[in-house]
Symmetry: C2
């Protein structure tokens, strides 16, 4: 967690007028009442995760929603000792142990930083409080969910493309930022193919 | 579309007090204002799709959201002439060309009835109208999305399980209703394996 403090004593992760980046994001999606903004400003906080370290592990009890300010977060589930990468997200995306959105059961997902990452954390209890007390928060939530839903559909689809070459081409088309940013082993895991297959596909496409 | 008319002249797909099943469902998720209920009652309509026929095809321009009253709907995308099954849903589930939720681009998905199916259709324009004019509709939408989001995450996950046996076991655990209901070819397509592999897995598990 950052301890950096600005000249005015405010943590520098906030905007010059003292707002949390999550408050700014929510308000840009749909205008949120001032009382809701105040709660977000008070209860969200910055988190730093070094490359390779974990943001969330299975069994973590207090769920949070995170806005990625910098870095890349990968989610995976362990199945027979093997890691199954379920998603990879970059800057300006909202990440969470989303498999259980709206439920209180614990998630089997690991959320790992694959670059040094800065995020803003929002307790999920606050999300639920906002949903309950500010109807507008449901517009924001609904729109973020629509967006993330398309992402999940995309992950379900890319995995089902039979040809490794088509799969990789689809990946570089839909996630151009990641293709040149993250290491091959994560791309291979996300695309559900071996590193050898991925390397072969890449050399063939480079020809 | 059903033409069946009850003694009172109302189409029998409505409840005894004249409501659309979609209005009943929405109102059970979160109380919706009467004016919203009235709009849903007026603008939703029943659809019947025979086994093998299509509810939606790529290029269909007016998007709808559908509540499945009876039957099973499968979504697939054609890739190099091969069908990639993206989801399969049964009774009481909401289906739509959901890949584009919140966007206006056309979907590459085919929605096919794999049993004779009865659905209630709701124009997506009405969904958007409700979101805009009734804040409560956003609570309903947000909750339905949370639910469907978990489904999409599940589809992205099951596809990435390496062992065919584990994959099938996960399927019968999470979708017990479908396992004994739909034909093997659809299960195989959904699980991204050949029918031969699926048959082998099933015989091995039956031993």
């Amino acid at each position: 967690m950052t301890k950096k403090v600005s000249a005015t004593g405010k943590r520098v992760w906030k905007t010059p007028d003292g707002h949390s980046p999550i408050a700014i994001l929510f308000n840009s999606i749909y205008p949120v009442p001032k009382e809701a903004i105040d709660l977000i400003d008070e209860q969200t906080f910055p988190v730093q995760v070094a490359r390779g370290k974990f943001l969330v592990k299975p069994g973590d009890t207090e769920p949070h929603l995170y806005l990625v300010l910098k870095g890349v977060i990968r989610a995976y589930i362990k199945e027979d000792g093997k890691e199954i990468t379920t998603w990879i997200n970059e800057e300006n995306e909202i990440v969470t142990s989303i498999r259980n959105l709206g439920l209180t059961i614990s998630s089997p997902e690991y959320l790992q930083a694959i670059e040094n990452s800065s995020l803003i954390a929002m307790p999920y209890a606050l999300v639920e409080h906002l949903y309950e007390h500010f109807l507008e928060a449901n517009i924001v939530g609904r729109k973020i969910l629509e967006d993330n839903y398309r992402g999940a559909e995309e992950r379900a689809y890319i995995c089902r493309i039979a040809s490794a070459e088509k799969k990789y081409q689809h990946f570089i088309k839909t996630r151009p930022g990641l293709a040149n940013r993250i290491s091959l082993k994560y791309i291979a895991s996300y695309l559900n193919m071996t590193i050898e297959t991925l390397s072969r596909v890449r050399s063939r496409l480079a020809e």
